[in-house]
Amino acid sequence: MEKTWNNKAWFLVLPVLLLVAFSAVIPLMTVVNYSVQDTFGNNQFFWAGTDWFDDILHSDRFWQALQRNLLFSFIILALEIPLGIFIALNMPRKGIGVSVCLVLMALPLLIPWNVVGTIWQVFGRVDIGLLGRTLAILGVDYNYVRDPIDAWITVIVMDVWHWTSLVVLLCYAGLVSIPDAYYQAAKIDGASRFSVFRYIQLPKMKRVLLIAVLLRFMDSFMIYTEPFVVTGGGPGNSTTFLSIDLVKMAVGQFDLGPAAAMSIVYFLIILLLSWVFYTVMTSRDAEN
């Protein structure tokens, strides 16, 4: 679609431009500024060049946190996308069931991040939590405070619970836009349930799936609040993701320089990975 030429349009976007400048560009420049300087307090700054970047890129702590992030995002996508598609496929298309399902699906999305964290933190506690207690009674050795595997499971289950709905809603929107004639034609052609999914539903959901994967990847890669509330990055460093590490460094240890350098590296990684995802998925789209 093309637009009319009208220079007034610039005035309309000006507030947004200003907002973006204040909320993103200026803070980002400040961070860049910090990343190339060193300070010992008293507002005294020294030029540090790329030293902090060297430090970050050579620290095991950074690479381990990055590995944890990648693993976490991978598991999240591997669980939420198929599960989301599966639920969307089985949701009703007509009648009162539609609105009931949509409301149920939307509920977790409406809860603030830290509340989700708190809910699960309490839910999973071995002493008073409904889940933790039940598992303990059933004889399952579960304790997210002590056991790194249990901590990971908790964080992952929590994220799946919180965000699968988003994938479901996006896929559902894609599915309902498929005209009935396609299903009728497939029936007449004798297509199996799987063929209908593979050749009709999946191709029609491709666009929304791309958005779902991108959103879920970026979000899960930047995860902070929920694990911070539940596990605080522990036990040990087992759930210390880049974001948690960053906050520890910047606020906990007040290492502004390295933290700034790390956040820039972090930002660039997200940008790069999102770009890779996007180009890979859209180029496959263009081939067809």
């Binding site: 005209p179 009728q184 034609a185 004798g190 067809n288």
Partner: protein, 356 residues
Amino acid sequence: MARITLDHIRHAYGANPVSESDYALREVDHEWNDGGAYALLGPSGCGKTTLLNIISGLLQPSHGRILFDGRDVTELSTQARNIAQVFQFPVVYDTMTVYDNLAFPLRNRHVPEAEVDRRVREMLEIIDLSGMAKRKAQRLTADQKQKISLGRGLVRNDVNAILFDEPLTVIDPHMKWVLRSQLKRLHKQFGFTMVYVTHDQTEALTFADKVVVMYEGQIVQIGTPAELFEKPRHTFVGYFIGSPGMNVMPARISGNRVSIGSESIELDNAPRIGGDERIELGIRPEFIRFAREGLKVKINRIEDIGRRKIVRAEFEGRPIAIVASEDVEIPAEPRIVFDPARINVYADSWRVGEEA
């Protein structure tokens, strides 16, 4: 291919139909021949799509049975009925090639791959898409996609019937001609039973051996294109078929004289009418010609549509349409003559026969 029997079928979308008007489809009781080409023609909401869906099995009729070759299929699903259908908007599997699209219904039925290949190639020839076998179906034009939809039905040589649901809606006029005559040739060649739903009279008449005209949930006439044109059973058929439709005007009958306003015409035979029905006379614009002597008309407008002229005139205070050929000069003081053999008389909208 199969003979289709519609055994006292009625359908209502609502749960408890009380009156006749609750039925989207009122009493349909017909038998359609094996290998026939039928068109269901009517305006939107006349029940033609309902009837098609009942035949295809997407809809269970509220009453009555449907039989293929004498076998009751009323309870069978679409799949089990073994039919093919072409929809209004082309349905193709976007991610597959043209070849795979055609192979799809065969592969689903576990036909051996060698046989699949043979039949798909044959079908590609028939629908004129051999050169595009390896192309992705998504990028094709609407008419090519429609050909694929058709091909997917034809490639299974065991289908009972092929159903068409307004298949030329999205096709450009020039391509319509090509597809239509191709379809007709296929029918002559292979003799499938075909049912074609449309609101376009040209499509219906040119395609079908028998046209089923529907109006307000009823079949008002089943006939060959010529029967529908020359002897419409109901004034609706007269109006709906032909462009412009039949001229229908209130009339009075006495013996074999029919009077319209102050004018009167002699008929070949006296129509068989009772006492107090509403009598109308119907005459097609094509069967009125200009003459030296005859009925007086006032011409309002002449539409020159290329190969013929449509004359919009006033006769006894009512509008009348007259069709004249390209080369006819319209006289300054026009008089018209109705071809007496082509006059139809209607009592309460239904055509009456002649006295023996």
